[in-house]
Assembly symmetry: C2
Homo-oligomer: 245 residues x 2
Amino acid sequence: MDRIIENRPLARKLGTFVALSEAELRMLEGLHKQRRTFVAGRDLVHQGQADHAAYILISGWACSYKILQDGERQIVDFQIPGDFLGLRSILLHLSDHSIEPVTDIEVTEVHVSDLLDAFSRTPRLATAVLWAASRDEAMVVEHLVGIGRRDAAERMAHFLLELGARLSLIGMGSKAGYACPLTQYLLADALGLSAVHVNRVLRELREGGMLTFRDGFVKFDDYDRLVKFADFELTYLDQVEPLLA
Amino acid sequence: MDRIIENRPLARKLGTFVALSEAELRMLEGLHKQRRTFVAGRDLVHQGQADHAAYILISGWACSYKILQDGERQIVDFQIPGDFLGLRSILLHLSDHSIEPVTDIEVTEVHVSDLLDAFSRTPRLATAVLWAASRDEAMVVEHLVGIGRRDAAERMAHFLLELGARLSLIGMGSKAGYACPLTQYLLADALGLSAVHVNRVLRELREGGMLTFRDGFVKFDDYDRLVKFADFELTYLDQVEPLLA
DNA sequence: ACTGCGGGCTGATCGACATCAGTCCTCGAC
DNA sequence: GTCGAGGACTGATGTCGATCAGCCCGCAGT
């Protein structure tokens, strides 16, 4: 069972917040059906696509985004191992956004029927999954607030801190930093900035001695100052001990 | 039963998308516990508050928002009759946002336990509620995209169109227009603009012959042109006939 | 009847960020 | 070794929208 937790970022993530029994872990494992891989840059799901599948991301990074008719793109969120892809839109029967792998990725397919079945049989698992969905939504809300009311530097700092916190949960990051495959163009599309301005802001943060993003690696040079600068609240990510222990 | 649908904006909204049986409607009715009223401007739920209740809005308008430490406010969404208040944050046990009535409002309290109980007993009701939650999240995402990548006028047009579509679902609006109690200050906080600029943008739209917002009433002067101008897609609000009929 | 206040409205000014137009560097293809 | 592509990076210029300052109107309170 420890093996499962170690190999399954999703189990690890959920386990941080809801203590799951062996039976529940097995049920979770049962959701992982067919394993598939996708190459970077080729969409898994297109905006407007009907009745697509949902996935659990095993390895690699992806992003969900929307395109406007003038060609502008807004990235809504990035997904890292352990995150669901397209969970929300399966109930809407029509995806309102696209999902693109940022790197080559590995996923497992999840059938809606299996998920609902698992929910009715193990309510605690349902709670755990709904908790994860709530957390995802809270992150989107925080992202919205950032774009609406924070300036470019605060936005960048907050975003990279949040990403770090999420990666820490699955053992891929720490307060020191983390490996990050995002280009400045991707950051721009996520933060509502131009790539040029992303570059300037990263320089400011670097020269301010708070954070260095270089060669695919984010290094927190002064974590505490950065947290204060970005007004980073991790209430929704932080949980001292599992609920429903 | 028709009476229930007519008096319950929530039943009316859900009924548009999932055909509910009499038993399901009764179950939905059973969720409405204690009825309460709140006056405009006094928060129902505070950012950081633990284990607060969830509510269904019966009459009046509310908004959910976050405050940053510099005092800036970002309104995430407005709630109209039939919407849930604080549904997402009950699973997080700590509200990450505040909720304030825009007008005097009437609500009924919903107990989490009752909701989960209803879910296990009537799966279709669960689907309907999850669908509603997904739709709410889709609106937040659309809002995020608007703030990130649309200019002020498009943002305003899109926002007022979406509000109109939502109000139409509960019989409080049409393609002609709707009564709207929002001040320009509230619009500013929602759209990430200043009140001054909101005023200018409203004037532009009025002079462009697309939309008139005056004396608490939004009038669509040229609905089709406005839809085109705002790139308004209603895929996530639109549903030709109920799913799960 | 005066006063204060909240909301709508407007002009002038300023700053943050986009856009345009590049350079430099690395890496893989041929 | 050259070519081309993609990503990081920079300076000059322009614009969108914020901020400041102030006016007008309708309304509630004394």
